[in-house]
Each structure stands twice: as C-alpha cells, then as structure tokens.
C-alpha cells in the first residue's frame, strides 16, 4: 500500500497531513512558502486558467463573480436548500441546479464536488512534491453531522481529484484522535468543533486506545461564515445610513468582508479595532468596533450551539459534570465569547493547547496511518448522526437505524405486496429525526422488482447497510428463491455515477499534466542535490586517485544531467541521473571511510524529503 495522507477539506481552509515514518507523529505539509493552510477558494481567470488557494482568495477582490468560496456549504445540496444564502455569492447559478448546484464561472459550469476536487488536487500535488512520489489514497474528514448526500459528495470530490478515499472520518472524532494520541487519556471527552461553516459536538469515551463515540449532534449550517455575514449586514447598513448609498459592487462587498474578518480575528486578542473602507465617490468609512459590541451581535449565533450540546449529552446519557475534558476545535473557537460560553455550559475550562486549525488534519493523518500500516493500538468507533428511515403509509417515517448507532450498522426490512400480481414496491429512504417524510431529508428512491404473485405472498428482504464512512448502500434478496436482486438507487441529491465518471475523465487530461509537473520537480531537485554532492566529491583529496578516463566519464555524465534539467523531460533527467549514479559508484566507494562520503550519502538520503 502506498502512502496515504489525511486531508481536512474545510469550509474556509483545507490542509493535508501525514504521519512521519520515523517520528510516528502527525504533521501538516506546508506549501513552498511554509504555509500549512490552503484557502478553500477557486477562481477562474478570463483566459480559462483555474486558480486555487491563496491567489484565488486575492481574486475575490478583483473578480468576485468568477470566484467560489465556502463551497462546502453547498455540498450535497439542492437549490431549495441554499436559496437564502445565494445572495452572499457573486457567481451565477446555471440551469439544472435542483438536485446539484451548478456554478457558472465565465463559460465553465462546475458542481460543488468539482470545485472541492480542485482544492483536493492542490493538496494532493503539495503532498506529491513533498514526498516526490504519487499520492493516490487519502482519508478525508467531514463534519460529523453531514448527511448521506453530503458525505457522498465529498467522496465524489475525492474520486474526481484522482484520490481513492479510503475513509471519511468525522471531524470532531479526528480531532480526538490527534488529541488522545498525545495524552493517552481515558474517560469522557466532549469535542466542540465550530469551524467556518459547520458546527459539531461529539461525546467520546476513551478507553485503552478505543475511541468510542457515544453521541454526536450539530448543525451543518452554522459557523464563522454566519458571523461574517452578520457583521457584513450590520456594517453595510451603517454605510448605507452614513452615505445614503448602497455598497453594490461585488468587489467592494468582498473588500469589506475581508476587512471585517480581519477585525473579527483581531478582536480575539484586542479589546477594540478600527475598520476602514474607502467608499467610491463618497469618501472613507471608518468605525471603531469594540469586542463587547461584536459579542452582543454574535451572541445569538453562539447560543445556537448550545441546543445541540444539550441534545448530545442527553443522547449520550451523561450529565455535563461527568465530562472529563472539553476540547475546542475549529477557528471560530478562538472567539473569547465561544470559549466563555463553552466553559459555562460544561463547567470546566476547555483545552486549547492544540492548534484548532490543524488538529482535524492531524487526526485524519493518524487514521490514514492506521489504515496504511495496520497499527493496532488505536481503534475508532464512530456513529451515524441521523436516524435512517423508510416511508410508510400516509407519508410517515419508520425508523430502521436510530441516530447515534455505532457504524457500520445495518437493518433488514421485509417487503411484500398488497394487491395480486403487483410487480413492484416503491421504497423511499430518508434521514432525519422527524415523524413525517416531508420534514426529513430524502436520500433516495428505488423500486423493488417482484414477480407477479398473489398479494402478500412475495417476500423480499431489503438490507440497508451504513458503512464505516457513514454512507448507505442497499441490497435486496428474494427470500423464496434466495436470489440477490440488484437495486437501482436514484439518489435524491448529488451526482449520478455516470456524471462522476465523466468528471473524472475530464480531469484526467489535467491530472496527467499535473503528474508530469510533479515528477519534473522531483527529478530536478534530485538532480540538483546529486550534482552538488558530485562536484563536492570531485575536489576531495581521494578523488585525485581517479583514473583520468573515469574522471572524464563522470564529467561527461554531469554535463549530460545539466543538459537534461532544462528540457522539462523528467524521464530523461531520471535516466541520466541513473547514469551518474553508476559513474560515481567507484568514487563513492573510494570515499567510503571519509566524512565527505557521509555528506554525499547524506545528500542522497535527504532527497526523500525534498
């Protein structure tokens, strides 16, 4: 099995991490400038170039209508789910968005899984450059409260990016892995995860390496974005009042948005800050914002996290005082108000020593390591966040797998017919806690095929299985014949398999170019290192004993390597590097007992880490 990385695909930022083979510790992989965070932003330039990450975030200010941020909020959603917040985005909606949002960026139309795939691909490349090898498998984290469609959309994104998603891990659970690894803790732990767009609260029992989730709750539409949007609303209203003019230009809205996000960050440590914005043709807007004022604005948003906290304790069957420790995860837990409120609710000071931005990715890397190496001293038992049900008479829901069931979980239901010669039974699968189908999330519908028989005689057993990723699959078998029946499931939200396949094909060309780019960078780095080591060795004392023709051969191959580097042909560079390795073999042997040899060898070993 190749190397498996852990990825936190976040609303605002995404990260990739791995567990060092030597250290056994999880670590985030930085980009070339040493940053571990990658803004989850994608932008399409006028010339058709797709830009991802930091440069895309800058483009929010110059081409907001061609730039997508917070796409995680749209994963697994249909138009009706997100209508309210579409006004916060500047891109256009393409037709056919009912069951999958279609985002029009210039002439290109992209779905949320495709946008997420671009972010994943960027992280994949970052890891490939780092290791100098192809990365094909990953563990990706999702909010614990993600439903089936949102999970499936995340898995699709991985496939489109050329990654086999070995496991989806719930974010708070991943955080507890990173946290528990360090401390070898035991007992009940609550993980409060308030990120850019989602809120999760999970209660886990830690016991001798077993991480058993007792219950989870949350809101997949609650996070720092909501705070930003609220601040934006308030400040826009103030500008309107002062200048008798609306901020309408998307560029300016985004500028104000970035200013107020900066102000929000500052107020986590400072008591007050100043927000400045030049308003076109009107002058400059400036206002002092105090922490207390911000807190009075956002208190209702923070309060919305308390309901799920109460529910999770109730479902786990524990009282707040029984919780041994509280761990804070997600950038929004830097807000002092959040910390105070959590402390008040649980009656204890929460842990903040882990970097709330990185801890989820680190935990994903730990899970990746468990899957890759077969380390058997840690095991995660997670739960499904929402009850699974099927529609019964009158639009009611019969629950077949209750929420907070440990996964994998399954349920079997027996179906029969109510009229003679009926040839099918329609099955509608939903997720949610309410009694009526219309108040739950529709997952899928399918029709069971039944051979014509008198009513009540057919007996078809349908098995619903939620796997360790929290994703549902369905199988059916005719109990009378014992035959397995294929079930053609039509998902209510999300991409069909054919669509995902097409998207993978579309991205392969792009991926091929990427792969070559990565190979080239790796080969060039190796060439640089080997050339440097060879040149250093050639001027050493021992090198004087080289036969002239041997020295000439080395010099010739060195020249050949130097010639190959600028061609951009990584295969050619590799070939010539191999020749150089052979040509310098004797030289290396001659230097065997010297410190110089150590340096030469050392250089070669270093190449692994590029």
């Amino acid at each position: 099995m190749g190397r498996i990385v852990g990825i936190d695909l976040g609303t605002t930022y995404s990260l990739v991490a791995y567990v060092g083979k030597a250290t056994g510790r999880p670590q985030c992989i930085p980009d070339e400038e040493g940053r571990t965070l990658l803004p989850s932003v994608v932008s399409l330039d006028a010339d058709g170039t797709l830009v991802v990450g930091w440069p895309a975030r800058e483009r929010l200010l110059i081409q907001p209508e061609r730039t997508v941020y917070s796409v995680k909020r749209l994963m697994g959603k249909g138009l009706a789910d997100v209508e309210d917040e579409l006004k916060l985005f500047h891109w256009r909606l393409a037709p056919g968005s009912n069951s999958v949002i279609r985002i029009a960026l210039g002439e290109k139309i992209l779905t949320p899984p495709e946008i997420s795939a671009l972010i994943l691909r960027e992280l994949k490349q970052r890891a490939e450059k780092f290791f100098g090898e192809e990365i094909a498998q990953a563990v990706i984290t999702v909010p614990a409260y993600f439903n089936d469609a949102q999970r499936q959309a995340t898995k699709d994104a991985g496939r489109i990016a050329g990654l086999e998603v070995l496991r989806l891990v719930n974010e708070p659970t991943a955080a507890s892995l990173a946290y528990g690894l360090d401390q070898h803790r035991e007992g009940l732990v609550a993980v409060y995860d308030l990120g850019g767009g989602t809120f999760d609260i999970s209660v886990l029992k830690l016991q001798q390496g077993l991480f058993e989730v007792q219950a989870t709750n949350g809101d997949t539409h609650l996070g720092g974005d909501d705070i930003d949007n609220l601040m934006l609303e308030k400040l826009e209203a103030e500008v309107r009042e002062r200048f008798r003019s609306e901020i309408t230009e998307p560029e300016q809205v985004q500028e104000l948005r970035q200013r107020l996000i900066a102000a929000k960050h500052e107020l986590s440590s400072a008591e007050q800050t100043t927000i400045r914005l030049g308003v076109e043709r009107k002058g400059s807007y400036e206002r002092v914002l105090k922490r207390a004022e911000l807190e009075s604005w956002i208190a209702p948003i923070v309060e919305r996290t308390i309901g799920p906290c109460k529910l999770v304790l109730k479902d786990a069957g524990v009282k707040p005082e029984e919780i041994g420790e509280v761990v804070l995860v997600g950038g929004s837990t830097r807000l002092p108000l959040v910390r105070r409120r959590v402390e008040e609710f649980f009656g204890r000071t929460p842990h903040t020593e882990l970097n709330p931005d990185e801890v989820v990715a680190l935990g994903a890397a730990v899970q990746a390591d468990i899957l890759a190496t077969g380390v058997r001293d840690m095991l995660l038992l997670d739960v499904t966040p929402l009850s699974l049900g099927i529609e019964t008479i009158g639009g009611a829901v019969a629950k077949i797998i209750p929420r907070n069931s440990t996964i994998p979980a399954s349920a079997t239901e027996l179906f029969t017919t109510s009229v003679d010669n009926q040839t099918g039974v329609d099955v509608h699968v939903v997720q949610g806690e309410r009694e009526l189908v219309k108040d739950c999330r529709s997952l899928a519908q399918f029709r069971l095929k039944i051979p014509p028989q008198p009513a009540g005689l057919p007996r078809v057993e349908v098995k619903f299985l939620i796997d360790a990723n929290g994703i549902l699959s369905v199988t059916a078998s005719d109990l009378r014949t014992g035959e397995q029946q294929s079930v053609e499931v039509k998902p209510s939200y999300g991409l069909t398999d054919e669509e995902v396949e097409r998207m993978i094909l579309e991205s392969i060309e792009y991926a091929e170019a990427d792969f070559q780019q990565v190979q080239l960078i790796a080969a060039r780095t190796e060439a640089e290192n080997l050339l440097r080591a060879t040149e250093k060795a050639l001027v050493e004392e021992q090198a004087k004993q080289l036969a002239p023709e041997e020295r000439k051969r080395i010099e010739r191959v060195v020249a050949a390597v130097k010639e190959a580097v600028p061609t951009g042909d990584y295969k050619l560079i590799r070939e010539r590097l191999e020749e150089l390795n052979q040509a310098t073999y004797h030289l290396a042997e001659m230097l065997m007992d010297t410190a110089v040899q150590a340096a030469l060898k050392g250089k070669r070993a270093d190449e692994v880490k590029l």
């Binding site: 095991l379 399954s410 796997d467 360790a468 369905v474 199988t475 294929s486 079930v487």
Partner: protein, 234 residues
C-alpha cells in the same frame, strides 16, 4: 447513498473458505484464523455466543463488544482482500446491531419475544393499561391545557402553575415506570431460571406472554413520561 448489487456470500458455510477446515460457526476459522462469513439469520445472542437469557451483565457485554470490535472492525482489514473486507463490514455491522439491541433491557426483551415468535418486532400495543385509565386521562388533560395556554400566551403565573401540576404527575408516572421496571426484572429472572430447567413449550409460552404484557405497559408509560418531559422542556 451508493448502489451495491452484491454483498458477501450469505449462505451457511460448511467449511472455511480459505483452508477448507470444517466450519465451527465461530467468527474466525480456528485452524487458519481467517474471518468467516456471517451465518444468515444468526441471532444476536448467538453472535455473542450467549444463551438466550435476559439478565445480562451490561459491563460484561460491553467488554465482549469491545473485544470483538478490535477484531472485526473494517480498519483491521484495510490491507486484506476485497472478500475479507466485505466479510468484516458485514460482521462489524451485525456486531453493532447486536450490541445496540442487547444492551438495552427493553430492546433486548422485545427482540427475544420476536425471536421466539411471541410478537413482531416494533409491535407495541398503544393502549392505556385499564388500571391507569383515569390518571392517564387526567394527565392528558393537563398536557392539553399547557399546550393551549402556551398557544394563547397565558401569563407566567398560570403557566408555572400548570407546569407544577404536570411535574407532579410526571413524578407519579415515573414511580409507576420504576415499578414496571422491577416487574420486568422479575420476569427476566423467571425466564432465565426456566431456561435452565429445560421447560416444555407451554411453560415458555406462558412466561413470554406475561413478559409481553409487562412490556406493553412499560412502553406505554415510557412514552407517556417522554411526552410530558418534552412538553415541559419545550
């Protein structure tokens, strides 16, 4: 939701699929230690290698659950063959389903009665026990009054008053629920003793029908208390 057309083979195996040694019904082959297919319709007690007794020690059950989780969880099979991965997924799901059912005394007895053919799973008679009719009627009246008062925006004092009365009623019903709990425990002991003495069909049936009746009362009271609690907390 993903489509899947075939799951691991569910036919009863007579021999280990890998080494051919005779199958023992255990989760792993005793001779080659490979994971074995889940026997079709194996019951939850059998999965844990337990007799069909009802007085289960919760801690012991949890311990068994943890031990089997370490062995059967799909994480253990990430580098195994696809067939073994399927087997582990199926087994781990049944393990979790079984633990979820057996750890809760009410779900446990309901499951057992289903196994023994006394009642169908989830079949609960939503009928007030006759001896409680009057009190239930009164409680429902209080509930309705509270709902009406909330809708009408009645003043705080009156709401509080209604709440207090409901809370008192809830305490009373909680007491009754505890009594039924005790009755149920007594039934458990009776059933377990009966199993040891190898009873005839009639004796088993009699005990089970009694349990079924107690169970009905239990679930009725439990729902009642839950509804009142929800209304009070809403």
């Amino acid at each position: 939701m993903t489509e899947s057309t075939a799951s691991a083979k569910t036919t009863a195996a007579r021999a280990c699929w890998d080494c051919g040694a005779p199958a023992t019904g255990e989760h792993f082959c005793p001779s080659c230690s490979k994971i074995q297919p889940q026997p079709p319709h194996q019951d939850y007690f059998a999965f844990f290698a337990l007799p069909r007794k009802l007085a289960l020690d919760r801690q012991q059950l949890e311990q068994k659950f943890h031990q089997l989780s370490w062995k059967l969880h799909p994480d253990n099979f990430s580098t195994a063959t696809p067939y073994e991965r399927d087997l582990s997924l199926e087994k781990a799901a049944v393990l979790n389903d079984a633990y979820r059912t057996l750890r809760d005394p009410v779900a446990r007895v309901e499951y057992l009665l289903g196994l023994e053919g006394i009642r169908r799973e989830g079949e609960i008679k939503q009928q007030a026990p006759p001896e409680l009719l009057e009190e239930v009627f009164e409680l429902n009246e209080h509930l309705e009054e509270l709902r009406a008062a909330k809708r009408a925006g009645t003043d705080r004092r009156e709401l509080d008053d209604l709440r207090h009365r409901l809370e008192a009623a809830r305490r009373e019903f909680e007491g009754k629920l505890e009594a039924v709990d005790a009755e149920l425990s007594a039934c458990f002991a009776e059933w377990d003793a009966l199993l040891d003495s190898n009873p005839d069909g009639a004796a088993r049936k009699q005990t089970m029908e009694k349990m079924s009746e107690v169970l009905n009362r239990h679930s009725y009271l439990r729902n009642l208390v839950r509804n009142v609690t929800e209304e009070l907390e809403a």
